[in-house]
């Protein structure tokens, strides 16, 4: 290999390493982890990622976008998640008190066994629609890092508020009700 060719090869290698460093720096600066929640809570109203998932409460599938025109309270949960147990009765209460006002509570059970999820729903008397995302692919698009997480989606399919962790405190519950009221009006 001639001296010039060797120089070119070394230049290309150094260039590639530099490019990788630039990409690393860019990805660190533009970290998308939980970005949907951040955007929503900043007031940016990002579009809610659509999905079609198998229903747990009845046969068939449910597509999120089929609920367009309604306010959706999307709650990601799992039967093995402790705070989800405390939160479930509150969500059922929200569903019952708001369903006549065009609000749908949608439970997305993820990284869980179907049978465990159904037992959970029976135990807490959940009557709102429930879908199953075993691998967690659909909720992955929401940047969910733990359970539970709740998203309020407006009638146009935009996320207006996100709650990381259980909505179990009085302040968070008031905030959720306020976000729903804002999306309904």
């Amino acid at each position: 290999m001639g001296y010039r060719a060797r120089l070119v090869a070394q230049g290309v290698a150094i260039g590639l390493v530099a490019l990788l460093f630039v990409l690393l720096a860019w990805s660190l600066l533009h970290d998308e982890g939980g970005d949907l929640s951040k955007q929503a809570n900043r007031g940016d109203r990002p579009a809610a990622p659509d999905f079609t998932l198998e229903r747990l409460d009845r046969d068939g599938d449910l597509q999120l976008s089929s609920l367009r025109g309604k306010v959706v309270v999307l709650n990601a949960w799992a039967s093995w998640c402790g705070p989800c147990k405390e939160e479930a009765p509150f969500l059922e209460q929200v569903w019952r008190s708001h369903r006549d006002r065009g609000v749908v509570v949608l439970g997305v059970d993820a990284k869980d066994f179907r049978a465990d999820a159904r037992r959970f729903a029976d135990r807490f008397g959940l009557t709102f629609p429930l879908v199953y995302d075993g691998p967690g692919d659909a909720i992955g698009a929401y940047g969910i890092t733990g359970f539970p997480e709740t998203f309020v989606i407006d009638r146009e399919g935009r996320v207006v508020r996100a709650f990381a962790g259980a909505v179990n405190g009085a302040a968070e519950r008031a905030e959720l009700r306020s976000a729903i009221a804002g999306a309904v009006s």
């Binding site: 290999m1 001639g2 060797r6 799992a78 093995w80 998640c81 990284k111 869980d112 066994f113 179907r114 465990d116 075993g134 691998p135 967690g136 692919d137």
Partner: protein, 149 residues
């Protein structure tokens, strides 16, 4: 001698058959299944879902299910990501083939580079490849002529 060989072959066949019919080992399965929350194998996790999956595996072993049936049941719940090793067919085959292809391509490229470098450092090869400057060649000829005289 032939009888001995036939007996040994039969023994091996019986042993293989017995191993194939043996119930799966929970510890082995736990090292081949990934916890969907912590993304380590079940044997390295004590997350609630990992514990639940371990209990599921033990229940299914007790019920007499084979390793394939148990794995298929877990894939039906959590997707193929639950398998620590990708399946050997379809898209999963790429996970096996790509690193091997990359390794082969890398080895071939390295072989070419080493060959090129060793050739470049061979003084005889350098003489053949790069002709001398005409002025320098004339000087060398003159020096050689003087030396011969």
């Amino acid at each position: 001698m032939i009888r001995l060989a036939v007996l040994a072959a039969l023994g091996a066949l019986v042993a293989t058959g017995a191993a194939a019919g043996a119930p799966p080992n929970a510890a082995d399965l736990e090292s081949e299944i990934v916890c969907p929350v912590c993304e380590t194998t079940l044997d390295q996790s004590n997350a609630p879902i990992a514990e639940r999956m371990k209990a599921f595996i033990r229940t299914r072993i007790a019920a007499g299910d084979s390793e394939q049936v148990i794995k298929a049941a877990l894939v039906a719940e959590f997707g193929e990501e639950v398998l620590a090793e990708p399946p050997g067919g379809g898209f999963g085959l790429l996970a096996w083939l790509l690193p091997l292809t990359a390794l082969a391509v890398g080895a071939i490229a390295l072989a070419f580079l080493v060959r090129a470098w060793t050739r470049g450092r061979d003084p005889d090869a350098a003489d053949e490849d790069e002709p001398l400057d005409p002025q320098l060649e004339r000087l060398v000829d003159e020096e050689l002529a003087r030396f011969d005289a």
